[in-house]
Point group: C2
Chain length 345, copies 2
DNA sequence: CTGAAAGCGCTAACAA
DNA sequence: TTGTTAGCGCTTTCAG
């Protein structure tokens, strides 16, 4: 691993000027086939690798973007990251990944370092902070948000309202009247919008909203579990629960199991965000899926090849999908018999 | 977003020389408090951000490392990546992430691009290729492997043999004699080592190895499911199965469910690699956990701050842990009654 | 078609 | 303590 060959070495060895080598390797300008071949041969001989740093310095663009997520082990984040990587690859960009763990201060530090690296832009799933960090950042470097938007800044988000509406309609259609909402300030977007959509849809369907059935957990697994368990215990009459995030859904499943509630015979469970484990659950969980991968892909696209649209800052909204599996059935005591036997799939 | 201020701008505005500004900002050398403050003030005023490209060019090191995994949406890879990010952060390094989808050609391309970026090193979970790509790569840039090693090159791996031994001993201790092994060429390391360890342990325990119970799937979910299902159907006498990867474990769970086999009453299931869903399964799955996060952390450490040890190329081996949950019990018809009632947890 | 030279932003001798 | 200067590897006018 000795000193790597530079363009100068190649030029010398090929007996030509620096510029010629540059032209050959970047395909710009015109060179006689003869010298061209010679340069190429020498370059291979020397195992020459053009230095991206030299080029970046000259060109004033690095060909890399920053990707900032709360937590790469969260399947939603990972899936979205995969989308970003897909797109970046087709566009020949590198992706510098970092995680902020929902800490605004850390988000700030990371953005600063990314700016020093002169990334061409940043894609971020913002944490639950107030967005001050991001408004500052967006003044210095192009930023596109994914999964969760910030007013006035470009973003790619899912149509949460429609998603919530679809699942609530489904639940009510099944005959449920006492539907609980398990919400909270969970980092990956379970803000107040979903709760509002829940309330609105119930109102539209003329089902009374029982405030006691709307519970909010903090963003730890323990808090989520406690909230779910206490809900089930306090109100044995709930026949269905919508969990606003996968953490909350996990809590609901575990709490129901802990209390020996059968799903969906005793209680139906649905959650927002599809996870690999949702299919492995018994019964498999009915979910509202956000197109995480697409969101990542589109965000990268918006950032890298659609500056005009990005400037306008209006969010790109992607459709969600209601995936009906086996965790929801008619409420107990309703015609239709055992909910289990009416599993959609 | 106009042209960013350079060190020259700062120097001019503060009425000092370039070097002085550089000294102040990098903390090197000595400067009078007076000028120091002035420079700092001007820098803040101009919102000056030192350019990492300029510095990299001069210093001949970029402060970033490459991280190459087969698939970032795989929980094992994601967890390992999180470990790498942790360590990189404490060392002030950036991480350029890319995915190769177990394609050697693509691994090669990515390595080339990473080399052009002049990363300080590369951490990789290699795909199932023959390692030629990596032997070449290691000649040009420091490489550390994680999760799966390559002979002669530095790596951080788990003690698979001990892990397999532990779970097989556990199964046999429970009374199982017809233990199946569900293996295959799965991308994230389910090579022949695990199968060999399985055979060896059974032999040690004087349990006959039935070749018909050792099945290999290809690395698709379909193939895994087919392998598991056909195993269960062909041999209704298997009382326990060890799945060599999480994909295979998933297949075993699904196949058992599809055939209405009760776990663990009819069949016990254990798998290698702990996944979030293993706890959500019903019953929760007994697993051999590899310390994915630690492996990532240690790999980064080895790469960045232990060049001497790295050079030696001997693998760092981390312990696995047998996590006993509820998916394994005594074989049917053995004293101990319903396996279900004897759940460990 | 080709080469010489300037300069991207920064750091580190070296001089003062 | 401070400023001047060279040069990291590359692209790109501008001459020839």
């Amino acid at each position: 691993m000795r000193r790597a060959a530079t363009i100068k070495d190649v030029a010398a060895a090929a007996g030509v000027g620096l510029a010629t080598v540059s032209r050959v390797l970047s395909g710009t300008g015109s060179v006689s086939p003869a010298t061209r071949d010679r340069v190429l041969a020498v370059a291979k001989e020397l195992d020459y690798r053009p230095s991206a740093i030299g080029r970046s310095l000259k060109l004033q663009r690095t060909g890399s973007i920053g990707l900032l997520v709360p937590d790469i082990t969260d399947p939603f984040c990972a899936e979205l990251a995969a989308g970003v990587l897909d797109c970046a690859r087709t566009l020949g960009e590198h992706v510098i990944l970092d995680v902020a763990h929902d800490d605004p201060e850390r988000e700030g530090e990371i953005v600063d370092r990314l700016v020093e690296q002169r990334v061409d832009g940043i894609i971020a799933i913002p944490g639950s902070g107030d967005g001050a960090v991001w408004r500052d950042a967006a003044r210095v470097v192009p930023v596109v948000f994914a999964g969760r938007g910030l007013p006035g800044l470009p973003s790619v988000v899912a149509d949460d309202r429609s998603g919530v509406r679809a699942v609530v309609e489904y639940l009510v259609g099944l005959g449920h009247r006492r539907v609980a909402f398990l919400g909270g300030h969970v980092s990956v977007a379970a803000g107040p919008e979903r709760e509002q959509a829940f309330r609105d849809t119930l109102a539209e369907l003329r089902v009374p909203v029982d405030d006691d059935l709307v519970v909010r957990a903090r963003s730890t697994a323990d808090s989520a579990f406690a909230a779910a368990a206490s809900l089930f215990q306090r109100r044995s009459d709930v026949s269905a629960v919508l969990a606003a995030s996968h953490l909350l859904g996990e809590a609901a499943v575990l709490a129901a199991r802990g209390l020996d509630l059968r799903v969906p015979a005793d209680v139906s469970i649905a959650m927002i965000d599809d996870m690999p484990w949702a299919e492995l659950c018994d019964p498999p969980l009915t979910v509202v899926a956000r197109p995480a991968r697409d969101m990542g892909y589109r965000a990268a696209e918006l950032l890298l090849r659609d500056p005009a649209r990005r400037e306008r800052g209006r969010p790109v909204v992607l459709a969600t999908e209601l995936i009906v599996r086996g965790s929801c059935g008619p409420p107990a005591g309703l015609p239709g018999g055992s909910a289990r036997s009416s599993r959609t799939r």
